[in-house]
């Protein structure tokens, strides 16, 4: 970390040396090293006030909004306060200029883009736990964010200790990474002072950040820092809702917020910058740095998944890992099946479909048609003993990010599902459907009660329907709508057939008689061992990332099968059914660790589809009124 300061100071006097490219190269190289990322503190895990300003940090986040590009002084001329000499300074990676800026001729204007980033919505606790325990220095102190409740009188002392502790830790780490660490530089001490000062305001901000500043998290009840991420190059490559791991320089200069405060106070008529932004806009675009820190990006890495158990390299590059996992997949699958079956009231077929659903993924789009989605409607869920909540808790244990949405009338009418542009604050107000890719959305339809949906409710249900059918969300831009493709696994738990469309409906066949349900449910509240859980988690994430193909032979036999089935009874199978069977076959193969479709898997897919359909027909007959 320290090298950064040296680098900056060394290069600042010589702004045109092309150091920028070199610096980025330097960091990229270092971060590629095996466990290099472990010694960079993460904003996700370490509370902001324990981090040094102007140090290198990382942040695992989702791009929630994109602000306008801003022009900044790339190079400017300043007067050194001590020597009174004119010096050229570099404004890159900084929010605030040092010393007074002088005349304009020598200023170089450059452009950068700001993204508003939030932690990945719906990230499950186990992901946070595991990724924070990866960090060497946090391991020393168990759970950093919660263990801190120091008493007021003792704070400063204890804080100093802690800070020293951390500092030494942080200095030690660079050693291991082969970066030289010098004695504490004056800037660092300054940084310490800053931290202490901010310590006083941090607790209040943590307890009630929403009271005066809406941090715009997509899901209600989310916590964590949001961040203004400043990108200096290739910002066109980023898209809204991308998940990233950002390495950058933390900037929490109090001057930023001070400026904002002053702005509010004084309203001079003649300042042209004054009337450009409304108060809300000010608040959103330059919030106090203690709440929303700025992060100047050196390197941003798109995350294909946010499962910390998987190695950071892509699967293709990691053939050893891939082959070892592939060989194990069939056995893990069997284990998972036995684990899930009792949860689904002893229904093995439903458990199998649930696995298929959990590894589904929109892998491609043909014009408007998303391929690979597999929305599952689990009907026949018991409504007693908060079965659905318990069920969701299990899912939560398995997937990296998920969200439980009870489809109660109140939720449907009052929650904001679709993000909406707020023009007066000039930002995209988030909604519950602004989710990262591969998030599991659990819709609990058993919560539905009689009543009337109002306009907002109807719009929300339509949005859910669109999400399921087309895997897209139409964001509301007031004057027009804009379509954002998404990739969300939707699981609907309902009593009867869901009112929402779904790719596949399976009726739960309970092996337990209703009177014993309560008893049974309380007994299945199983907590598997961590090692087993981790195996499941890895399995699900890997299966989703695998490639898949169909050979010509199998294509032929699938075609033959289809034609034969149609010959016998044209009503039995439609094009839509074939679509679904192809998806089921694909997911079935992947779940077994096979990257191409075999004849066996196809037959098996046909078989389980047949079972499912016969069950549905049976159910229709019983109920009679089901459409």
């Amino acid at each position: 970390n320290n090298c950064w300061h040296d680098f900056i100071t060394a290069s600042q006097n010589n702004p045109n040396s092309g150091w920028e490219a070199k610096a980025v190269e330097f960091f990229k190289d270092h971060l590629k090293e095996k466990d290099a990322h472990t010694w960079v503190p993460s904003l996700n895990d370490v509370p902001l006030h324990y981090l040094k300003p102007n140090s290198l940090v990382k942040f695992r986040c989702l791009i929630q909004d994109m602000f306008d590009p801003e022009f900044y002084m790339g190079v400017y001329e300043a007067v050194d306060p001590s020597t009174k000499a004119k010096v050229l300074r570099c404004g890159k990676y900084k929010d605030v200029t040092e010393c007074g800026v002088r005349s304009l001729p020598n200023t170089v204007t450059a452009e950068r883009q700001t993204f508003y980033c939030v932690p990945i919505p719906g990230e499950n606790p186990w992901v946070k736990e595991i990724s924070s325990s990866c960090l060497g220095f946090v391991q020393a102190r168990v759970v950093p964010s919660t263990s801190y409740a120091p008493t007021r009188q003792k704070r400063s002392y204890e804080e100093d200790d802690d800070m020293d502790d951390m500092d030494t830790q942080m200095q030690r780490e660079p050693h291991t990474a082969g970066v030289q660490a010098g004695p504490q530089s004056p800037t660092e001490q300054h940084g310490n002072g800053d931290c202490k000062r901010r310590e006083t305001e941090a607790p209040s901000s943590q307890t009630a950040p929403a009271s005066h500043l809406d941090l715009n998290f997509p899901l209600p009840g989310e916590k964590g820092p949001s961040c203004l991420v400043k990108v200096y190059e290739d910002w066109d490559g980023f898209k809204l809702n991308d998940t990233l791991e950002v390495f950058g320089i933390l900037s929490v200069s109090p001057a930023l917020s001070a400026l904002a405060d002053k702005k509010d106070a004084s309203s001079s008529l003649l300042d042209p910058t004054e009337c450009m932004e409304t108060a809300e806009e000010q608040r959103v675009h330059s919030p106090p740095a203690s709440l929303v820190p700025r992060l100047h990006v050196l390197y941003a890495k798109p995350l294909p998944h946010n499962n910390p158990l998987l190695p950071s390299a892509t699967l293709e590059d990691n053939s050893a890992f891939l082959s070892s996992t592939l060989s194990e997949m069939a056995s893990v699958r069997a284990e998972l099946l036995t684990f899930l079956t009792p949860i689904l009231l002893g229904d093995a077929l439903a458990a199998e479909y649930l696995i298929l659903h959990l590894i589904s993924n929109v892998y491609s789009r043909r014009d408007v048609l998303p391929l690979g989605k597999f929305t599952l409607n689990l009907s026949g869920c018991p409504t007693v003993a908060s079965y659905t909540e318990r069920f969701y808790q299990i899912i939560q244990q398995l997937v990296p990010s998920s969200y439980y949405l009870g489809m109660s009338l109140q939720n449907m009418n009052q929650m904001r599902f679709v993000p909406k542009k707020d023009y007066s604050a000039n930002r995209l107000v988030s909604g519950a459907l602004q989710l990262a890719r591969n998030t599991s959305l659990f819709l609990d339809e058993t919560q539905l009660e009689q009543g009337q949906l109002d306009t907002a409710g109807v719009r929300n249900v339509t949005a859910l329907g669109n999400l399921i059918t087309w895997q897209k969300v139409d964001y509301d831009f007031n004057y027009h709508q804009m379509e954002f493709p998404c990739n969300i696994n939707v699981l609907i738990a309902s009593e009867g057939r869901s009112l929402l469309p779904s790719d596949c409906q399976i009726h739960l066949q309970s092996q337990i008689t209703p009177p014993h349900m309560e008893e049974y449910l309380s007994s299945i509240h199983v907590h598997p061992q961590a090692s087993q859980l981790n195996k499941f988690r890895m399995y699900l994430s890997v299966a989703r990332l695998l490639n898949y193909s169909i050979s010509d032979e199998v294509t032929k036999s699938v075609e033959d099968d289809f034609v034969d089935m149609r010959k016998d009874d044209p009503q039995s199978i439609s094009a839509e059914d074939l679509h679904r069977m192809l998806v089921v076959a694909r997911l079935l193969s992947l779940s077994l660790g096979q990257t191409s479709l075999s004849r066996d898997s196809w037959l098996r897919a046909k078989h389980i589809e047949l079972l499912r359909r016969s069950r549905m027909e049976q159910h229709t007959c019983v109920n009679g009124n089901e459409p």
Binding site: D65, M66, D68, P69, E70, F71, Y72, M73, Y76, P81, G91, D95, V96, T97, E98, C99, G100, V101, P105, T109, E111, L240, S253, A255, L256, A258, L259, L269, L270, P272, T273, C275, S364, R366, D367, V368, L369, L371, Y423, N426, Y479, H480, M482, P485, I550, T555, V558, E559, F562, V563, R566, K567, P570, S574, A575, E576, L578, H579, L582, R586
Partner: protein
């Protein structure tokens, strides 16, 4: 010094923007004047009391005259010397207002300040000969007259520039009595590239020069005309219309044109242009101009030498109108997956309130970057600039949409290469097949339906018959798809909706009549009634996709009658009565009423739509499961390959969606085919043939509506070929497609014949004939019964059934009874049938 008569209190109160203020002579003359080393306090014209001649010279002049105390120029015909280098700098400054008395002539007409250009008057001129340029190395001095004056920091030579522009104006524009002159920059470029470059790079200096040139020219030609203020030049269409996303630091202080949509306009901001200070001690007054948003408050009164005695007098200061407009990228210009950018625009003076939120505009202006204000108490400042655009010209791109076709808006910019590719594509003999297969490739087969939709996308040629009283002739093709659920109708609709730039997608279930048309609501902010347009109006010149057409309520459907034939929407609500254009093609999808298509029934019976509406569709297609082995095999292959082919393979196989989109846009904009002689003959023949088919069986099988459909389809097909002429092949294809659609939808299930009357009257001719027969049989039966005034309903039905050899349904029987009742032969009351005669 101060003129004694120039103190009418209220004259400059409020946001008075009329800059013809009297007597601004004083210690604060612009520095340009001081630069010339003259006595800056007097300028070149001495203040004089109001001359009585003023009123005589221009008795019709507005209010100002009597109040003006400014000096009179020596005469109206006094034109400023061309080489008077001070004039550009005096332009728009207080000193030029001094000459404002006679309301004609270039000196007489008050110049209006141009806050949009900022403090141009501060720009010093540099004589290249005496003082070599320092920073920017301005070298241009093309003038051979030895005049080597350029505006400092630029290479703009005032004289040359002016001259050039005057010549340009002579070439291109004839001035009409309008105080604003809009100048197309493309014309400037074609006239003189160098001048154009200067205009783009130094708008702040060049535009005032243009102003001056135009005024000189104007008053030279029309020395007696009276204008409210001097003519202002408003250039537009600079270089290329740039995307907001492309703006970068190099564009700062340059003239740019960008397009976007207005999302917010601020309240009106009175911006001080000139502050009025009065000494508290001696009442000496002075004026200070605002320089870059700041006023240098004079600390010493020059009259009595008291320090800090001057106080600002607000209602005698001069303000100008200013408004902040926020614009956002148009959705079409944006890359997928990103959010739109916004830019702040300042509108000044008469441009204020020219645009409303929601307007699509092209704006020309100067791009500015202002550093964030340094805080006096802090040495650190934010290293960020605020950017905005000072608007010079607004052009609303959708202004005319409500009234007529706006060709500009439709015109997408096609590069030469693109046009070349498109033309090459059009030259291919199988372009029609290629395009139709490129349409929704993920949907299998249904070739004819895709072809129909393709023709719909191109549309027919617009014809105006308003002179003969017919009004506009519908050029848009309407298509209805009906068929079994799960035959990817919705997918086709989604595809079309995604393909066309102005498409709307609604579902019949979820939309109400107002949602489709327009509704009046009270704006929450302004409390004014505003007209909110619905899907049909929004898709004007586009396609409105309506899914689940059958689930639409009758009242909703009824609004479609007007739209689908007259292409307008009439609204009479809450005092707003208007007719909106809705030249939209309707692509609707309907499910059969019994969830499965019943082949034994007619289209009308299957989808239960009023025939009045059905007849407005040019093509009605059935999307049915063909249930045929070969088809199944191909379908299976198609689907399987969909699931494993990689993106690249797909790309190779089919035309890119973007190419298709451009192709359609190009054809829609530039190709306007007309019927050739042979084609008209072919159409006539086709129509006559269609009529003949029916007449043989005693029914009519074609109506003029069908002929119109044929013409539209033929024109659309000619557009596909990029042909300016509709030829016989187009008519052939139109005929074929029309027949295919008819065969599918208007086949009488009882006879197997194509019968257009199913669509036009809702009942096939055979069915009508049969009804007649049953009624006659019933009548006979009743007559045979003799003198029974009343009969049991059930009894009668059974008798008739026993008598007739065909099965008689209850419905048929009821219809027969109704027919007889219409003849006043009998009445039906409850379960009894009474004879009337």
């Amino acid at each position: 010094m101060s003129s004694p008569t120039s103190t009418p209190g209220g004259r400059k109160r409020g946001r008075n923007t009329n800059p013809s203020t009297p007597s601004s002579e004083g210690p604060t003359s612009p520095p340009s004047q001081r630069r010339r080393g003259q006595d800056s306090s007097t300028g070149d014209l001495m203040p004089m009391p109001t001359s009585p001649a003023t009123d005589m010279l221009s008795p019709a002049a507005p209010q100002d005259n009597s109040l003006l105390s400014s000096p009179r120029p020596s005469g109206t015909n006094l034109l400023p010397n061309e080489v008077d280098m001070s004039s550009p700098l005096m332009y728009g400054t207080p000193s030029s207002r001094v000459e404002g008395t006679p309301r004609s002539g270039v000196r007489g007409t008050p110049a209006r300040q141009r806050p949009d250009l900022g403090s141009v008057r501060k720009a010093p001129q540099v004589d290249l000969q005496s003082e070599p340029p320092s920073a920017d190395g301005a070298v241009t001095s093309e003038s051979n007259t030895g005049q080597r004056l350029v505006i400092w920091g630029t290479d703009v030579n005032v004289g040359t520039c002016k001259e050039k522009f005057q010549r340009k104006v002579m070439v291109f524009i004839s001035v009409v009595g309008d105080p604003v002159l809009n100048v197309n920059c493309l014309h400037v470029q074609s006239f003189d590239a160098e001048l154009y470059r200067q205009l783009i790079c130094y708008p702040q200096e060049v535009i005032p020069t243009f102003d001056m040139a135009v005024n000189e020219l104007f008053f030279e030609r029309f020395p007696d005309s009276i204008l409210e203020f001097q003519i202002q030049v408003r250039p537009y269409n600079a270089l290329k219309t740039r995307n907001m996303r492309n703006l970068n630091p190099e564009d700062i202080d340059q003239l740019i044109t960008i397009s976007g949509m207005v999302i917010r306009t601020s309240q009106l901001i009175p911006e001080m242009q000139e502050a009025f200070f009065q000494c508290q001690v001696c009442a000496f007054s002075t004026r200070v101009e605002v320089d870059r948003g700041r006023i240098a408050e004079p600390s010493v009164c020059r009259n009595c030498n008291t320090t800090h005695s001057l106080a600002i007098v607000h209602n005698r200061s001069v303000f100008s109108d200013k408004q902040m407009v926020k614009i956002q990228e148009s959705p079409e210009d944006m890359p997928a997956g990103q959010t739109p950018h916004t830019t702040i625009v300042y509108a000044h003076n008469d441009l204020v309130d020219k645009v409303q939120p929601g307007d699509r505009i092209n704006i020309t202006g100067v791009y500015r970057a202002v550093p964030m204000r340094a805080n006096p108490r802090q040495s650190n400042v934010k290293s960020v600039y605020k950017t905005h655009i000072d608007a010079i010209h607004f052009h609303k791109t959708d202004e005319k949409r409500l009234h007529g076709l706006d060709e500009d808006a439709e015109q997408k910019l096609f590069t030469e290469d693109r046009v070349q590719t498109l033309k090459e594509l059009a030259a291919k003999p199988d372009v029609y097949e290629r395009l139709s297969s490129a349409l929704a490739p993920s949907i299998y087969e249904h070739e004819d339906i895709k072809k129909g939709i393709l023709l719909q996308l191109f549309g027919g040629a617009r014809k105006d018959f308003s002179q003969t009283g017919r009004g506009n002739f519908r050029a848009d093709v309407n298509i209805l798809l009906c068929g079994d659920p799960g035959t990817s109708k919705s997918q086709l609709l989604q595809y079309v909706y995604n393909l066309v730039p102005r498409g709307q997608y609604t579902s019949g279930k979820g939309s109400s009549a107002v949602g489709l048309t327009a509704y009046v609501m009270r704006d929450p902010e302004t409390r004014q009634l505003v007209l909110q347009t619905g899907a049909l109006v929004l898709s004007d010149n586009g396609i409105c996709c309506i899914d689940e057409f059958d689930k639409m309520s009758d009242s909703t459907r009824s609004v479609l009658h007007e739209v689908m034939e007259q292409q307008t929407l009439s609204i009479a609500k809450a005092g707003i009565i208007c007719q909106l254009n809705a030249r939209t093609s309707v692509l609707a999808a309907a499910n059969p009423i019994e969830s499965q298509w019943n082949p034994k029934k007619t289209t009308i019976e299957n989808i239960q739509l009023p025939h009045t509406l059905l007849s407005r569709f040019d093509l009605i297609f059935l999307m049915l499961d063909p249930q045929d082995e070969a088809y199944d095999r191909r379908l299976a292959h198609h689907l399987v390959s969909l699931y494993y082919q990689s993106e690249e393979q797909i790309e190779e196989e089919f035309l890119d969606m973007a190419v298709l989109r451009d192709y359609i846009a190009y054809a829609r904009t530039y190709i306007n085919p007309r019927l050739s002689e042979e084609a008209s003959q072919a159409l006539i023949e086709a129509y006559v043939d269609m009529r003949k088919i029916g007449s043989g069986r005693g029914m009519v099988s074609a109506y003029p509506r069908q002929l119109e459909s044929l013409i539209r389809l033929a024109e659309a097909h000619a557009k596909v070929r990029f042909s300016e002429k509709v030829e016989t092949i187009d008519v052939e294809e139109a005929k074929r497609l029309h027949r295919e659609a008819l065969k599918q939808s208007a086949t009488d299930p009882r006879t197997g014949f194509v019968d257009i009357s199913i669509l036009t009257t809702g009942m096939s001719a055979t069915a009508r004939k049969r009804k007649e027969e049953v009624a006659q049989a019933l009548k006979k039966l009743i007559q045979a019964k003799g003198k029974t005034p009343a009969m049991k309903y059930q009894q009668l039905l059974e008798d008739l059934r026993g008598q007739s050899e065909n099965a008689i349904t209850k419905e048929l029987f009821d219809e027969a009874l109704r027919a007889l009742a219409d003849e006043d032969y009998l009445t039906v009351t409850g379960k009894t049938v009474r004879l009337l005669a």
